[in-house]
């Protein structure tokens, strides 16, 4: 499929691999896929010295917690990190530099400032136009001018780039190893029966944007039609708040099984086993990777009608969409899926085919095409000479 020559690729993660997160998983997966294709990949990331890291990840030193975009990110920023970035660039002689999320103060931003040559940036988040961003933009503009290519992981993330930063970005979705989910083995304890169908929820329990509270509020109504339903909840965090609405609903409380955080294999098995996956998110999702994972595993999907989810589910072709934050509507959709399992299965089968467009084999090829385009006839990645008087005195080339 790919006819791209072997490249030396430098990737920069803004967040520490010490903490799990969508951006880190994305970088890990794409790096491993590209390594498997015979490219050289080095990932620079903040990390605490005691964390075990795969050999292709280079530590850029300690990360500090910083609240960002509604959650806490661990990042590195400052003169020490900056000189570490420069050393890494000098040591590696990259053909292309790929920074992730360079609009937040992070290693990525430092790398974008420090380097010249082919630089690619991926924007992961989507958020409405913010005052802080608009105010900061004139300061950031010179850095963004250096980017040879900008990638957004979804149409929503692209909108954010266009609105905040101007210019454009190409949309290349997040990737998933579809086969890992498709080939996972179901586990009997999570498989539903006609009497006791199972639903799955994945995500932080105490982050309202993941929407567990909407699902728990919908549960009593679901139970009235299907009294045997079990809701399997995977994720870390404190469920107290989301369960508070069920104070007077002991049956609903009993239908919920908290599994805690599980590893990747168990997650895939869970999605393979259940009768439906529910994504009641209320916002903050720019792509919807968890939906794609559920679709890969062949689980029927019921999700909020957020823009990103709408697109992943082909406007309801590949799964049911319900009004965001609307518990009664969600209850009705869940009932519809449990009432007519054949229709749900048919949709899930279509989804399992459609989801192939997010498989890493395709997504990584698209990313490689970007690298190939920006390196075509370009110099290697080098250190940016300081802009200003001194730079002007250098003999002019070309």
């Amino acid at each position: 499929m790919s006819d791209v020559r072997p490249l030396r690729i430098g990737m920069v993660s803004p967040y520490s691999f010490h903490v799990p997160g969508g951006v880190q998983f994305h970088i890990r997966d794409v790096a491993e896929h590209l390594l498997g294709m015979g490219h050289h990949v080095s990932v620079l990331a903040p990390s605490d010295d005691d964390t075990e890291l795969p050999s292709y990840i280079e530590s850029a030193g300690r990360a500090v917690p910083l609240p960002y975009n509604g959650s806490v990110a661990r990042i590195s920023f400052g003169p020490v990190a900056s000189s570490r970035v420069k050393r890494w660039l000098a040591e590696n002689d990259f053909d292309v530099l790929h920074v992730h999320e360079p609009s937040s103060p992070s290693l990525s931003m430092l790398a974008m400032w420090a380097a010249t040559g082919p630089i690619v940036a991926t924007f992961h988040t989507s958020n409405p136009r913010s005052r802080a961003m608009s105010a900061a933009y004139p300061l950031l503009r010179p850095g963004f001018e250096k980017l040879s290519a900008r990638i957004a992981v979804s149409e929503d993330a692209r909108r954010t780039v266009v609105d905040h930063l101007g210019g454009d970005a190409v949309v290349i979705p997040n990737g998933v190893f579809v086969d890992r989910f498709a080939a996972a083995s179901p586990r009997a304890q999570w498989q539903g029966t006609t009497e006791r169908p199972t639903l799955a929820f994945l995500g932080r329990l105490d982050e309202p944007r993941k929407g567990l509270q909407v699902l728990t509020a919908a549960l009593p109504e679901v139970l009235r039609a299907h009294p045997g339903v079990r809701l399997l909840v995977l994720g870390r965090g404190d469920a107290e708040e989301a369960l508070a609405v069920l104070r007077d609903e002991p049956a609903a409380r009993e239908a919920i099984e908290l599994l805690g955080p599980l590893d990747d294999d168990a997650k895939a098995s869970l999605l393979r086993s259940v009768d439906a996956y529910v994504g009641p998110h209320t916002g903050g999702e720019s792509f919807g990777i968890v939906l794609v994972e559920a679709m890969s595993a062949g689980a029927p999907v019921i999700a909020s009608d957020l823009g990103a989810f709408r697109r992943v589910l082909d406007d309801g072709e590949l799964g049911l969409l319900t009004r965001t934050g609307d518990a009664p509507a969600l209850a009705e959709a869940v009932r519809a899926v449990l009432d007519d399992p054949a229709a749900a299965r048919a949709r899930a089968q279509r989804a399992a085919v459609g989801v192939r467009r997010y498989d890493w084999s395709r997504v990584a090829a698209q990313i490689l095409d970007v690298y190939d385009t920006v390196t075509l006839g370009a110099d290697k990645v080098g250190e940016d000479p300081r802009l200003g008087l001194l730079a002007r005195w250098r003999p002019k080339v070309s």
Partner: protein, 195 residues
């Protein structure tokens, strides 16, 4: 001490301030010039990349045209052969649009594409055509983005007033139809295969 301050207030102060101001203005101008220089470089590199991609698409389209029956095949052959050129020849927007139209016409019919794909060699050729088209889209996006940034800088009053761009021409976006025929759109592999 008092004496020194008094003197600073006077002529020396004015001189010092002027020198400082000139230094700051000089630094700022050279900083803008360096940014502009870099943007021009990006425009040139990305334009060269786009030209290479367009030449590649034309070459593949020409090859594909040999597999098609006339008249669509003949039309595509004509349009493509006009665009097969030395990689550094300037882009002909009209010619590229003609090629795009010929491609759309040649692959208007999904059934015909399915028939063509029945032959594995032709199928591979069509995949290559799609890939070449996707790469044109990427290269054009990146080039036009560079042009947009460069144009923005060039329109700044300071840049115009100080003639920082010198004699370099105002970069222009490449406006061509780079859409791909629907019928060639990417399809998921039939049975969980690896693409």
């Amino acid at each position: 001490m008092d004496h020194a301050l008094e003197r600073l207030d006077g002529t020396w102060g004015v001189v010092l301030l002027t020198v400082l101001l000139l230094l700051v203005v000089g630094w700022y101008l050279s900083y803008l010039a360096a940014r502009l220089d870099r943007l021009h470089h990006r425009v040139e590199t990305s334009r060269a990349a786009l030209e290479t991609r367009l030449a590649r698409r034309a070459a593949v389209a020409l090859e594909v045209s040999r597999q098609l029956a006339p008249p669509a095949g003949e039309q595509l052959r004509l349009a493509a052969s006009r665009m097969v050129r030395a990689p550094d020849a300037p882009v002909s927007e009209a010619g590229e649009n003609l090629l795009a139209r010929a491609l759309h016409q040649a692959f208007a019919d999904q059934k015909q594409v399915t028939r063509l794909r029945a032959d594995p060699a032709t199928g591979e050729l069509l995949d290559e055509l799609v890939l070449a088209g996707e790469r044109v889209q990427l290269a054009r996006r990146f080039h036009n983005d560079a042009v947009a940034h460069a144009q923005r800088m060039r329109r700044k009053k300071v840049v115009r007033w100080a003639k920082l761009a010198g004699t370099a021409q105002m970069p222009q976006m490449v406006e061509i139809d780079d859409s791909q025929p629907e019928s060639l759109a990417w399809q998921p592999p039939p049975q969980g295969g690896i693409a």
